[in-house]
């Protein structure tokens, strides 16, 4: 048990209260599109894995929904807005926006938004403070968030069926979003 806690500490996610000006509900979908020289899908897949792990490592359930909203949005923002991965970006951006809306709807009125950061070679920092869910709304928020994730996976898999060139890429991203498993690092 202690080892697990230590590992979480070692991951080093730091919660910083009120460091940045909140930009609640900020959508990455509005960011300017990147040129088509964007990296391979595997880079986004790795980003998504790391983002989910990052949100898990926070250790505070109340911030999980908004963390995923923010991180998935950050990955989407790096994707090209045109070309054969535009649908992928759109699906993730929509997921981010909808998760953000869930976090906003059920947010706590008493908990301050917080920034999260993780050091190390795979460092990661949220670009805006995350909103915490009120304890009494947690179940409702989780249910709503599950629906968003389900829809996102479905959208990605549908895109995989219609994409001639990127079917495997769509499936892979859908696999990350829809994965039921947490893979474990050594204890």
């Amino acid at each position: 048990m202690l080892a697990r806690l230590h590992r979480l500490m070692a991951i080093g996610v730091i919660i910083a209260f009120g460091l940045n000006t909140p930009a609640n509900g900020q959508s990455y979908a509005n960011n300017p599109p990147l040129p088509e020289t964007a990296p391979a899908t595997s880079v986004y897949v790795a980003d998504l894995y790391r983002s989910i792990a990052f949100c898990r490592a926070i250790g505070r359930q109340a911030y999980m929904v908004d963390c995923l909203a923010e991180r998935i949005g950050a990955v989407a923002a790096k994707m090209p807005a045109s070309g054969d991965r535009a649908d992928m970006r759109a699906a993730l951006a929509t997921a981010s926006r909808e998760l953000g809306a869930v976090a906003n709807k059920y947010r706590s009125r008493t908990q301050s938004p917080v920034n999260m950061t993780m050091g190390g070679a795979n460092s990661m920092t949220t670009t805006r403070p995350l909103r915490g869910i009120a304890p009494e709304n947690l179940n409702l928020a989780l249910t709503a968030a599950l629906t968003v994730m389900a829809q996102t996976e479905t959208v990605l898999l549908r895109s995989a069926q219609t994409s001639q060139t990127r079917a495997l890429d769509f499936q892979e991203v859908a696999g990350v979003i829809g994965s039921t498993k947490v893979l474990l690092r050594s204890g």
Partner: protein, 502 residues
């Protein structure tokens, strides 16, 4: 499927802070053979076994005592002990009796062994490899102590293929009778094989009812705060002194990075072995022993370097000094110690005591994994599967590494491999295979695995859950229906299989 995907991380956050009772079971199989039916009987071995067993019980071991057993009896006992060892942190075997090397293989001789030739030894004796197998599943440390290189009881009947020592001080008041000695062994990392006498020497029988080696061991077992590696050094020094340098105990293999204090520690915890975090466990070492560690580290002992590094990585310690830890680990890693390479990789990955350096971290993980260090093989699998430290996701390579680490009985790797089988991404494997790995992961004692299985079993398909229930049933841990429902009954069985009391 996606519902579970999202719930799992959220659920995990809760379960991470719910502690399970600490377990630090230490089990010992103490074997004494004296009343041989076909070869010369030994006088003190039963005394030794009885006394060693009593001392080990005194310091908290669960002891199985086996004296004057036939081969069949001993094999049965070893099988039962092996099952016990699966959920123990430390499994120790002590053997006092005849031992012989035949063409590079060491054999322990049961009382009914009737030997006319080399072939007979293989048939009627028990190989050291078999003994090592009985402890190989212990979770943290495995120790086999052989107080047995006392003679070759079969004389010319057996070609031991061992050179006689230059000065065969094999007077007949000892248990030795001519050609003797056991062959050097090369056990796995985390396994220590201790011989009463190094190759070519005889182990004396002793004049006061116990062998010098057993006497020294019994004294050392009960010294509190004495770390196990230092304990074996003290035993060696004592035996050398008592036998006027005629007999020098010797150890082969290496202990794991986890410190053990057989008689416990007075440094705030009763049983340091129960401390899963090596940073905390090593920090409990007494100042004079830290000095010894430093001396050993200066002499090139990489485990001592690792221990000193762990102490300096404990933020609660006044000795906290990550940069110094990096120095120790760098030295040990450069000497080729895979556990140090792994720990140093983590520091480079996290940026602890050193600037984060993904390339360096990856190189160190690769170097450690190349030596088969299971933690590194699993983490490298993780990095390849999901991508990280500059690696793009490579599922095929990740899966292969998980398989390799699972074959090394790494708990998290067995869980990961089971999870990927269950996801259907590993060709030729099905729910039964997934359940088999899950069961082995449970038995090998990973808190993370236990928590995953008890907090969100629905992450696995019903077929895998049913297959796991079937395995639990076959080991008498579970009596309910094979319905895949992981309710209270199954969860209870999972915890008992893990080693927690029902």
């Amino acid at each position: 499927m996606f519902r579970k995907a999202f719930l799992l991380p959220l659920t995990l956050l809760f379960v991470l802070i719910v502690p399970f009772p600490a377990m630090a079971e230490r089990v010992a199989l103490v074997i004494g053979m004296g009343a041989y039916e076909h070869v010369v009987q030994l006088k003190n071995t039963i005394n030794d076994a009885d006394a060693v067993a009593a001392k080990l019980e005194d310091v908290g071991f669960k002891v199985t005592l086996a004296t004057d057993k036939t081969q069949a009896e001993l094999l049965d006992i070893m099988q039962a002990f092996s099952f016990q060892a699966e959920t123990a942190d430390l499994a120790l075997v002590y053997y006092a009796g005849h031992g012989v090397e035949v063409q590079g293989v060491n054999y322990l001789i049961p009382i009914d062994a009737n030997v006319k030739s080399n072939k007979d030894v293989v048939r009627v004796a028990i190989s050291l490899d078999d003994v090592l197998k009985t402890v190989e599943s212990a979770r943290k440390m495995r120790v086999v102590i052989l107080d047995s290189c006392r003679n070759n009881p079969f004389g010319d009947l057996v070609d031991t293929n061992v050179t006689k020592p230059e000065d065969p001080s094999t007077d007949n008041s000892t248990r030795s009778a001519g050609v003797q000695g056991l062959a050097p062994v090369n056990p796995d990392l985390g396994t220590l094989v201790a011989f009463a006498a190094k190759g070519g020497q005889v182990a004396l029988d002793g004049a006061d009812g116990h062998s010098p080696y057993a006497t020294a061991l019994m004294q050392a077992f009960t010294v509190p705060n004495l770390e196990i590696s230092l304990m074996f050094r003290q035993v060696r020094d004592k035996v050398l002194e008592q036998t006027h340098n005629l007999q020098e105990p010797y150890t082969y293999g290496s202990l794991s990075g986890t410190p053990f204090y057989l008689a416990g520690s007075t440094g705030g915890s009763i049983d340091v072995a129960s401390e899963a975090d090596p940073r905390v466990a090593w920090a409990d070492i007494k100042p004079e022993q830290e000095q010894q560690l430093r001396a050993l580290a200066d002499g090139g002992d990489t485990r001592s370097m690792l221990g000193l590094a762990y102490i300096r990585l404990n933020p609660k310690e006044t000795r906290y000094n990550p940069a110094e830890a990096v120095e120790y680990l760098t030295k040990a890693a450069a000497a080729g110690a895979p556990d140090a390479q792994f720990e140093l990789a983590k520091l480079y990955e996290q940026g602890t005591g050193v600037d984060p350096d993904a390339k360096k971290a990856l190189e160190l993980y690769e170097a450690s994994a190349a030596q088969g260090f299971p933690d590194a093989v699993n983490d490298l699998g993780f990095l390849y599967y999901q991508g990280g430290l500059g690696l793009a996701p490579d599922h095929a390579k990740g899966i292969d590494l998980f398989r390799q680490a699972a074959d090394l009985r790494h708990p998290e790797a067995m869980f990961n491999y089971a999870a990927l089988i269950d996801d259907g991404v590993i060709k030729g494997k099905g729910p039964e295979d997934s359940a088999k790995y899950l069961y082995q992961a449970l038995r090998s004692g990973s808190d993370a695995v236990l928590k995953q299985l008890t907090s969100d079993p629905a992450m696995f398909t019903i077929k895998t859950r049913q297959a796991l229930q079937k395995i639990l049933k076959s080991h008498n841990f579970y009596e309910g229906p094979l319905d895949g429902d992981f309710g209270k009954t199954t969860q209870g069985a999972i915890k008992v299989a893990f080693g927690l009391q029902s």
